[in-house]
């Protein structure tokens, strides 16, 4: 299969601190790829580099054959990368369904004038948006809570809503930053099913950061381990998790 994301020699420095150095990864279409490593290893920084929150000091990021290095966050989202956040970032004062509709923003368009004067275009598009949003909410079993304020959702559902919102932007690559953080084992198991379902039914390629080894070994096909901003090991999940270097640096004896 063709490579969807190709990252070469990616690096960034904050002042004297080398946060990420010589990072490389190749993710094939439809793959479930894991990025693990101890706290402060630079995992989230890699996500921020991929999504344009930080501009890389050097390196090349190619998505589906297009060079997206140094683009703005919005452009990168339009090119096809969507993400969730380690510390949940929902639109708290908006309803659950409106959160998803904001994700649909660039795919269902009508003009401001149509919106203000309630011209037919408004009703047509809003109806299509509501349908599409409800469809996505159903996948994450959030359709009952569609009218709740996002802030009032329980924690696990907030995580799911974030994924739904990211999927609404119709990405090619989905980045999940610690999706299982703060979840109990039951919720984690459910989440694993959801992630697999998303991969299979949305033809999605997923790169995820996670500390929960059960989840990582359960669903990731390949792994990269980061330590102090550098790649410590990479390859098939089982092989990487048995690598003595990884065990000393991260997993523990």
């Amino acid at each position: 299969m063709a490579a969807l994301l190709e990252v070469k020699n990616l690096g960034i420095s904050f002042g004297g601190l080398r946060a990420v150095d010589d990072f490389e990864v190749t993710i094939k279409k439809g793959q479930l790829y894991g990025l693990i490593g101890p706290n402060g290893a630079g995992k989230t920084t890699v996500f921020n580099l991929l999504t344009g929150v930080y501009k890389p000091s050097e390196g090349i990021i190619t998505l589906d054959g297009v060079n997206i290095t140094g683009l703005k966050t919005i452009e990168i989202n339009k090119a096809g990368i969507a993400r969730t956040f380690q510390n949940i970032r929902l639109f708290k004062e908006l309803s659950v369904i409106d959160n998803v509709k904001v994700g649909l923003h660039n795919h269902y368009k009508y003009s401001t004038v149509e919106g203000i004067f309630r011209l037919p275009g408004y009703f047509k598009m809003e109806k299509a948006m509501t349908e599409k949003a409800m469809e996505l909410l159903k996948v994450f079993e959030l359709e009952q809570e569609a009218d709740y304020l996002a802030a009032n959702l329980p924690y696990g559902k907030q995580r799911k809503l974030e994924i739904a919102r990211a999927l609404a932007t119709e990405p090619k690559l989905l980045l999940l930053d610690e999706p299982a953080a703060g979840m109990n084992p039951n919720e984690t198991r459910e989440l694993m099913d959801t992630i697999r379902f998303v991969r299979d039914n949305f033809d999605m390629t997923i790169l995820l950061i996670e500390h929960d080894m059960k989840l990582v070994s359960g669903i990731c096909e390949e792994l990269t381990v980061l330590n102090f901003g550098r790649i410590l090991a990479k390859g098939e999940t089982a092989a990487v998790l048995n690598d003595p270097q990884v065990i000393t640096a991260y997993l523990g004896e």
Binding site: L94, V102, H105, G115, M125, E126, T169
Partner: protein, 355 residues
């Protein structure tokens, strides 16, 4: 589920429109039957002005989530642009309603453009910094108008920033904007009815904008800028949109304001810092992001000082006490709980259970 939600928004909006129309009908009946003091009658148009200002500022403060202290500046632009047009065209367009409508459009447009131009550099700032810079821009606008002289004669328009003599007008010339003396002789076209229509127009624009694709984008920026960017929302575009629409509506209020006075001057009292703060007080007390609240608090806080006029010495004291009580009542968690406990809905329910 979806139908339910839509109808809830629509219902909420209809109640807001209903309150405005009902208030209008009651006032009209009172005017017709003569049950209204001349003092109150004189307050009707300013009331409409303040309501529009409060609702439009709520778009910036409550919906976009950015603190702007320069709202009176945009009102000032609209007031002078509209009044200038009316004075200039007084003899050309005889129909006062048509002239006023065009003046309103011109006032709103010019304030909107000024809002857009100021917004471009300023909206890069956030929080306190934005507040300080908008405050400064509001004052700058006021001061520019104070030194602006515009006159017309057979040769056309003449501009100056020195004094009215240096305009070099011919004998038949007419000084329209006379520096600190402002514009005199603006036709008094503003009526309560037009004011109410403008309130309704403002509400339609603001409420429909909020409940549309653009409104969601604006609110997503308020709730989480980084997340909004990550789902592809153009931050600059939507910040500017909210800010300029808010400015344009303030300009519209300004036109209404200027056509209610025979002489219009830009003083610290009407277009200065105090005015901006007063509008902000309306918005904060009515509830940030709550459009209906803005209307109600603008009305109460405008009427209150006038109604308390009889108590002369204690007027400002009572006014400030009411302000503090309203703040506590709206925001203190304990009082919110108390209010919920003894709310009408709950009491009704209880009596129902007893039976």
């Amino acid at each position: 589920m979806k139908g339910l939600k839509l109808s809830k928004n629509v219902k909420d909006n209809l109640i807001t429109y209903g309150i405005v129309i009902l208030a209008y009908l009651i006032m009209e009946i009172m005017i017709k039957t003569g049950h209204i003091s001349s003092l109150l009658q004189g307050l009707l148009v300013p009331l409409c002005v303040y309501v529009i200002l409060a609702v439009s500022l709520n778009l910036t403060v409550g919906i976009l989530g950015e603190l702007s202290l320069g709202h009176a500046g945009f009102m000032c632009v609209g007031a002078f642009a509209g009044a200038f047009f009316s004075r200039y065209m007084q003899d050309v367009i005889e129909v006062s309603l048509l002239r006023f409508v065009i003046a309103i459009l011109i006032g709103a447009l010019s304030a909107g453009i000024v809002g857009f131009l100021i917004g471009m550099p300023v909206l890069r700032l956030r929080g306190d910094y934005l507040a300080i810079v908008t405050l400064a821009f509001g004052e700058i606008i006021k001061n520019i108008i104070n030194v602006l002289y515009v006159g017309k004669d057979a040769n056309g328009l003449h501009f100056s920033t020195k004094d009215s003599m240096s305009l070099g007008l011919m004998e038949d010339g007419d000084v329209i904007i006379n520096g600190a003396q402002g514009i005199t002789g603006t036709p008094k076209d503003a009526t309560f009815t037009i004011g109410i229509i403008l309130i309704i127009i403002t509400l339609v624009i603001v409420l429909n904008l909020i409940h549309s694709r653009d409104g969601r984008a604006i609110m997503s920026i308020r709730d989480n800028l980084i997340a909004a960017e990550s789902v592809g929302i153009n931050i600059t575009k939507y910040k500017l949109m909210a800010f300029s629409v808010s400015a344009a509506l303030a300009g519209m209020a300004g036109v209404l304001y200027s056509h209610n006075l025979s002489s219009l001057m830009a003083t610290p009292k009407n277009f200065g810092y105090n005015m901006s703060i007063m509008i902000l007080v309306f918005v904060v007390l009515g509830g940030i992001g709550n459009i209906r609240g803005s209307i109600i608090s603008a009305v109460i806080l405008t009427l209150l000082p006038e109604l308390l006029r009889g108590l002369s010495n204690y007027r400002m004291l009572i006014y400030s006490i009411v302000l503090i009580v309203m703040m506590l009542f709206n925001w203190s968690p304990k009082l919110i709980n108390l209010r919920k406990k003894y709310s009408l809905k709950r009491l009704l329910k209880k009596t129902g259970e007893v039976q």
